[in-house]
């Protein structure tokens, strides 16, 4: 079911307001889910459940957010995401913008990949597929 991007954004915004208790005007497309909206790791499961209900979709594990990257020694060395892992992440997360992260691919910066825009992109791709 195709849906206009603005309509998707409004629904995503409502999901994040409910899940994180933030104000509507804080949920901009560029807002980082963890750093700007204060999400903790458990909130991501809540957000995924709410997105599934709001859009009538299924989000398979690891599709919106790849799991266990941080704990895999092949993917992270000395706190930095390896080139192989970066390539894998880019393939798994076409909905995220890697341009800034690639300049400084520290594990600590990875949360910046999860923006409101990334969620909207993901939902848009899912609904149009």
């Amino acid at each position: 079911m195709a849906m206009a991007r603005e309509e998707i954004f409004k629904k995503v915004q409502a999901v994040l307001v409910d899940a994180l208790g933030v104000e509507e005007d804080e949920v901009t497309e560029d807002a980082v889910i963890k750093d700007d909206l204060g999400a903790e790791s458990i909130d991501f499961l809540d957000i995924m459940f709410r997105l599934e209900r709001a859009f009538g979709i299924k989000i398979p594990k690891g599709e919106l957010i790849p799991d266990n990257v941080a704990n895999d020694p092949n993917f992270v060395k000395d706190g930095v995401v390896t080139p192989a892992a970066l390539a894998m992440l880019k393939q798994k997360m076409p909905h995220s913008d890697f341009s800034e992260f690639e300049k400084d691919p520290k594990l600590d910066n990875m949360s910046k990949l999860f923006t409101v825009k990334a969620i909207v992109n993901y939902i848009q791709g899912k609904l149009n597929s």
Binding site: S41, I42, D46, E52, I65, A70
Partner: protein, 168 residues
């Protein structure tokens, strides 16, 4: 004291819904702690009763192989107080259930005092989210043994099934 806030299941449909009841008695010490001379069931313990009802429903869905943890209270709206002598009815419905966890919509009522009052009294609406913590997104590791579903919880479900067989 046993940390168990439901007395028995009266309905249990695997992966779908469960209803448990708790009879509130004046003998329970904690009722007298919140407001002297006005005993009530604290709302926090009503949430705990719903979490136990729902947690067993979520755990049973995977044969108690997952460690099911109450991860988030999405919403809890209370409409009235619960007093000694009343029977609380916890109804939990699975909204979503997957390998990572579950979301539950809960309704709390009390049974009517008199036969004339047909409808149960609405006490609360509670939305809960449970996590299968071994599947957590952060990749954190926990002990192997299932420390969540102790015998006191699994016995509740066994009792319900035994009672159901006896009724048949």
């Amino acid at each position: 004291m046993r940390w168990i806030w439901i007395d028995k299941f009266v309905e249990f449909t695997s992966k779908h819904s469960a209803t448990a009841v708790k009879n509130v008695t004046l003998a329970e010490e904690h009722l007298h702690d919140l407001y002297p001379a006005f005993p009530i069931v604290p709302n926090s313990l009503i949430i705990e009763g719903m979490a136990q009802t729902a947690g067993i429903l979520v755990g049973e869905a995977r044969n108690f192989t997952e460690k099911v943890i109450l991860a988030k209270i999405g919403r809890a709206t209370f409409h009235r107080l619960v007093r000694p002598g009343e029977t609380i009815v916890f109804t939990a419905q699975v909204e979503q259930l997957n390998e990572s966890g579950a979301s539950i919509r809960g309704t709390v009522t009390v049974k009517p005092d008199t036969p004339a009052a047909l409808a149960p009294d609405h006490v609360a609406d509670i939305e809960l989210m449970f996590s299968h913590i071994d599947q957590n997104l952060a990749g954190l590791e926990f002990p192997d043994h299932n420390f969540v579903f102790t015998e006191q919880f699994t016995e509740l479900l066994k009792s319900f099934r035994v009672d159901a067989n006896v009724r048949l």
